[in-house]
């Protein structure tokens, strides 16, 4: 609803759009309290918002608050065409397009990824400022500032919420997908929160991706691939934590708890991702996740296939974290000695040195080599570097295990 209204009023008037929605909701609460909920609450809300929007347009017809220079919007200034034009904005198909258009606007490459996600959560997912602040473990003030900055950017550059033209769509979708993926990761492995898994973020990320798949123009292979990837990860959610909220590694996860429905829809998405020429990181990551889901037991995992995918991934981009993960595969496939040799290649990487998984991996390798003192030292370093309570506990348990 906000997206449609932003399209009508322009991105420079986002508050106006939010106010209309707010008003419509308040009016709904007041009216429904006495008369009961209407048969089609959605249509009722749309109609109310639409009428409020018409009022605002009439009031601002001769002011410069709303920019009517677009031919489509010019029609809002005439009594002959106002109502019909307004109605056309609220067609089901149009609403879907506007939602996506707003998503692309939020993910404008000039806006920092942090701000992109903040804005998406606020404007498209309906999170309150408080909820967004909670998601990022930061103050409402910080979030308000981020929102303000993005709004200012929209105002200054008069960004139009729309799905990009076909020659740009792949590039622009790339930014949208990384925002969605980041949001999903934050939900899957929360770095900012006491809860390790945040299902609200996961389901929001998935529904954003699904909405991209609901419109033909944005049904790109990489979108399907990301959807598949998220399905495979989500399938394992319920086996990742104990009842007390402690982390369980994939080696010890109860595979019967894995959600078969998610796995099979992941497969469907992955099949659909297999057209076009591009092999993206999402394709490969989804393929790896699928291999894990496909193994009946941990020991059945097809590590050589997984290693092949990692090699392809590293060909696309030399990401140190991907390299680190590849070392874990080597550890499984060829043993700790080989893994240690491989890890030597990145021992001077500044990013990895600050990444707790790097130290945890070194700890694991040393432990398997029987170098207990070294292993404990690495685990301790990893504990220092992670903020997550569950991860810390998990690593402490490992140390305790060695020392006993």
């Amino acid at each position: 609803m906000v997206s449609v209204l932003i399209k009508i009023f322009g991105t420079e008037n986002i508050e106006m759009a939010e106010d209309v929605v707010q008003d419509a909701l308040v009016k709904a609460l007041e009216t429904w309290k006495y008369r009961g909920m209407p048969d089609n609450p959605r249509a009722w809300l749309y109609r109310t918002a639409k009428n409020k929007a018409i009022d605002i347009i009439r009031r601002n017809k001769h002011s410069s608050v709303i920019d009517f220079s677009d031919p489509q919007k010019q029609l809002l200034t005439s009594g002959y065409t106002l109502t019909t034009t307004m109605n056309n904005y609220w067609q089901e198909e149009q609403i879907k397009d506007d939602f996506l258009g707003m998503m692309y606007a939020c993910c404008h490459p000039d806006i920092s990824q942090e701000n992109q996600i903040t804005f998406i959560l606020k404007i498209l997912c309906g999170f309150s400022t408080k909820e967004v602040a909670k998601s990022f473990l930061t103050s409402e003030d910080t979030i308000s500032k981020r929102l303000y900055r993005t709004k200012e950017y929209f105002r200054k550059h008069k960004i139009k919420p729309r799905i990009p033209a076909s020659e740009q769509i792949s590039l622009r979708t790339h930014t949208v997908l990384s925002a969605i993926y980041l949001m999903f990761n934050e939900g899957y492995n929360s770095t900012h929160n006491d809860q390790l898994i945040r299902k609200d973020l996961i389901s929001q990320a998935m529904s954003l991706c699904k909405s991209l798949l609901s419109v033909k123009r944005t049904q790109l292979p990489e979108v399907y691939a990301l959807m598949a990837l998220m399905c495979f990860h989500t399938a394992r959610i319920n086996s990742r934590l104990t009842e007390k909220g402690e982390l369980i590694l994939i080696t010890k996860q109860d595979r019967s708890k894995w959600d078969k429905e998610f796995i099979s829809s992941g497969q469907k998405y992955l099949n659909k991702a297999a057209f076009g020429k591009g092999l993206t990181t999402y394709h490969l990551e989804a393929a790896i996740a699928y291999e894990h889901c496909n193994a009946k037991e941990y020991k059945d995992t097809d590590w050589s296939k997984i290693l092949k995918y990692y090699k392809l991934l590293l060909k696309i981009g030399n990401d140190p974290i991907v390299f680190l993960n590849q070392c874990l595969v080597i550890l499984e496939l060829k043993g700790p000695k080989e893994a240690l040799i491989a890890l030597k290649n990145v021992e001077n990487n500044a990013l990895l040195k600050k990444y707790y998984v790097y130290h945890a991996t070194l700890g694991e390798i040393q432990e398997r080599l029987g170098h207990n003192t070294k292993a404990v030292k690495h685990y301790q370093k990893a504990i220092e570097l992670t903020q997550s309570k569950q991860e810390k506990q998990f690593l402490k348990d490992k140390i305790a295990h060695i020392l006993n």
């Binding site: 031919p71 029609l75 200034t77 005439s78 009594g79 002959y80 109502t83 019909t84 034009t85 056309n88």
Partner: protein, 114 residues
């Protein structure tokens, strides 16, 4: 480019006899017509006029209705841009009001201020 005004005459008698759906559909046609003009960047403004009103005569008398009634009544206006009277006239021929009971569209150039 010159500016013109279309004065739509007639067309309000049938309006009230139509169902809301028919009215809505008819307004879609107006929307499409005007949208076509807007897309050529030739639309300026336009409004529908209500069918009641007063008329002040030169002797100070006030009549409680528009000067002309029924079929001749000005029901609305549209301001557009066009290169010539001919072009404006061609545009006016597409007026959806003719689908119902519009009597005429008067095409008049707006007095050019030098």
């Amino acid at each position: 480019m010159k500016e013109f005004m279309f004065l739509f005459r007639g067309g309000d008698e049938v309006w009230n006899t139509k169902s809301p759906e028919e009215q809505q559909e008819h307004m879609q046609h107006w929307q499409q017509w005007i949208e076509g003009i807007a897309q050529q960047d030739k639309f300026i403004s336009g409004e529908r006029l209500h069918y009641y009103g007063n008329t002040v005569m030169n002797d100070g008398k006030v009549i409680d209705r528009p000067l002309t009634e029924g079929k001749e009544l000005v029901g609305g206006y549209l301001r557009i841009k066009a290169d010539s009277l001919n072009e404006a006239t061609e545009i006016a021929k597409g007026c959806p009001g003719f689908e119902w009971d519009s009597k005429a569209v008067e095409v008049r150039e707006i007095w050019p201020e030098k």
